[in-house]
Symmetry: C2
Subunit: 345 residues, 2 copies
């Protein structure tokens, strides 16, 4: 899946390795010194090179770090590369000893689902709509891991893992890599007339263990991160034309839509059904994590790349018409931390 | 060893957990999500939290990253924590398959030593002076791993590992942690009248494998990083009152002194002998890596903390008198990447 590095630089000259100041790698892999290895393999001798890890939102942490290097004046052009293997050591929440055999993420997602169901009457069929929609969207994404979609009925009948998590409600860990270039305003003007801007950034880490979440029907870190991102971008939820949200499990998309204020509280499921029934690609056009696969460290980078495609009008069969503002939502470990980016054409 | 977190904030109020925006962890450990775990254990809910890895200069990469977050305006106060275990997976250069059984760092340091010896007539006794000096300096450091020093003769007679690396020419991997707080100019003024400033930053990654180094008697990444750091700080080598240099092996200190222009090319050994004979603490006052131990991810943080102690005049028995400008040199993997920081009182 995923991967960019397509030549968006088509103005006076192409960007070359010598222009790249920073190489950051986003991964949960145990291998060390990957940023320097990627640099050597790509013929780059950057000033700044290191790996960034924060489980499933490593990718957007890496992008925000590159943004900080550039906006602080320490660098002009940064390459961010996310990469992960299907057997990533970031898949299971090994740090939380208190969970015993319930360390696998399906268990927190199951608690999220039961909490949301109890509070808002969300149903298993609502969850199935998320998966069916995203799998169908993924068909238009040439980098998707899957070559087929699944109907609501097929999701409903897929293997039961817990009372309210079925196999097709889960994103699938997979191999994957994604790379994106960030540049300062001065640098980017040399290469293109139509850059995409990072207009808003919000991040929040509330804890390392999700039991700190007072209310399991909402993701507090996402609420707080989105507030900062909207504020920095001077945008409100109604300005968002297209959103990539972190559907690690079906319930996460429904909760994220509410937490990002893209749907009213308790109305996330209705919005998903509407998007599904009208084949509207506004949410997770590339297929989300469920429809394309979830290579942990690469996911946040791939989500952000989709925002760039959408705002540049190059998203092909999954293009949202006249998209001017995109939102990227990437989170880790039972939403104990979240990143929200707002991109602008 | 190491560790700070001492209360340097003594002005109108103490800094509290709520003030901390960013928590970055520096480590080569395979454990994931450590920045969020440290945050939860310390009662901090930061906006930005992730781990940074670049082998032995992870610590200064982390500090520069925190600097970038602050100077970009994304954050005001950052906690940087480096931590490592004695059995760190970062100890052996596992990525370089071409080295076969010669992956252990003693082999590159041996090539550095033989190259420097051939070119400049450096002797095994010169190397022993580095170790003896740094072990003696370490006695004044309450965080040192060692409780004794070694004479030049003892270093000379220590176990031979290669033709020109003896056991006491090596820094020793050990458990260790070190933490430092960085704050914006506005924020720091609330807490102290005598802050220490990061005035210059230089970083360079030339490759991931040291065979790209054309001349093994000099560390190109250190030369290039120091040039940027001096330039950003508007300082020259003669302004440096005290330096922490990355003596992973004895030969590294001699080469670093030359590459940082603190000694003329080929005169690094003479400077070391002079410092040893006059008991001058100007280079590696805390004992360096050889005299205190080398907990990889914590080392760059500990080196930087020593710079702060020296510039605040709180370095006790190892204080360099009237130190106003400090240089920190931290490198990785056969000096394939280096960081140089210049600190100012």
């Amino acid at each position: 899946m995923i991967s960019s590095m397509r030549p968006i630089f088509d103005k006076t000259r192409n960007l070359s390795q010598e222009d790249i100041d920073v190489v950051l790698t986003s991964t949960n892999a145990n291998e060390k010194y990957l940023a320097s290895i990627v640099s050597e393999l790509a013929g780059i001798s950057p000033r700044i090179a290191h790996s960034v890890e924060s489980l499933c939102n490593s990718g957007t942490n890496c992008i925000v770090s590159a943004f900080a290097y550039i906006s602080s004046g320490l660098a002009d052009v940064a390459l961010v590369t996310g990469a992960e293997r299907t057997d990533s050591p970031g898949l299971v929440l090994s740090w939380d000893k208190s969970r015993g055999k319930y360390k696998h993420p399906i268990f927190w997602s199951s608690l999220f689902a039961s909490s949301h169901m109890r509070k808002f009457g969300t149903t298993l069929e609502d969850l199935a709509y998320v998966s069916a929609k995203n799998h169908r969207n993924g068909l238009e994404n040439p980098y998707s891991f899957f070559d087929r979609s699944y109907s609501v009925g097929e999701v409903m009948r897929s293997k039961t893992l817990t009372d309210n998590v079925r196999l097709l409600d889960c994103s699938m860990p997979c191999n994957g890599a994604a790379s994106i270039l960030l540049a300062s305003e001065d640098a980017i003007r040399q290469f293109t007339d139509s850059p995409v801007w990072i207009a808003g950034i919000g991040q929040k880490s509330i804890s390392a263990g999700f039991t700190k979440n007072a209310d399991l029907s909402s993701m507090e870190s996402t609420v707080l991160a989105s507030r900062d991102a909207y504020s920095m971008a001077r945008k409100s939820p109604k300005d968002i034309d297209v959103a990539e949200v972190h559907d690690a499990f079906s319930i996460c998309e429904i909760m994220a839509l509410e937490d990002l204020q893209l749907a009213e509280r308790g109305k996330g499921s209705s919005l998903v059904r509407e998007l599904h029934d009208t084949n509207c690609k506004k949410v997770n056009p590339r297929g989300g994590l469920i429809g394309t696969g979830h290579p942990l460290g690469a996911t946040g980078v791939a989500q952000t790349i989709e925002g760039f495609y959408q705002l540049q009008g190059t998203a092909g069969g999954r293009q949202v018409e006249s998209a001017k503002t995109a939102l990227i939502h990437n989170m880790s470990a039972a939403a104990t931390s979240s990143t929200v980016l707002i991109l602008q054409a």
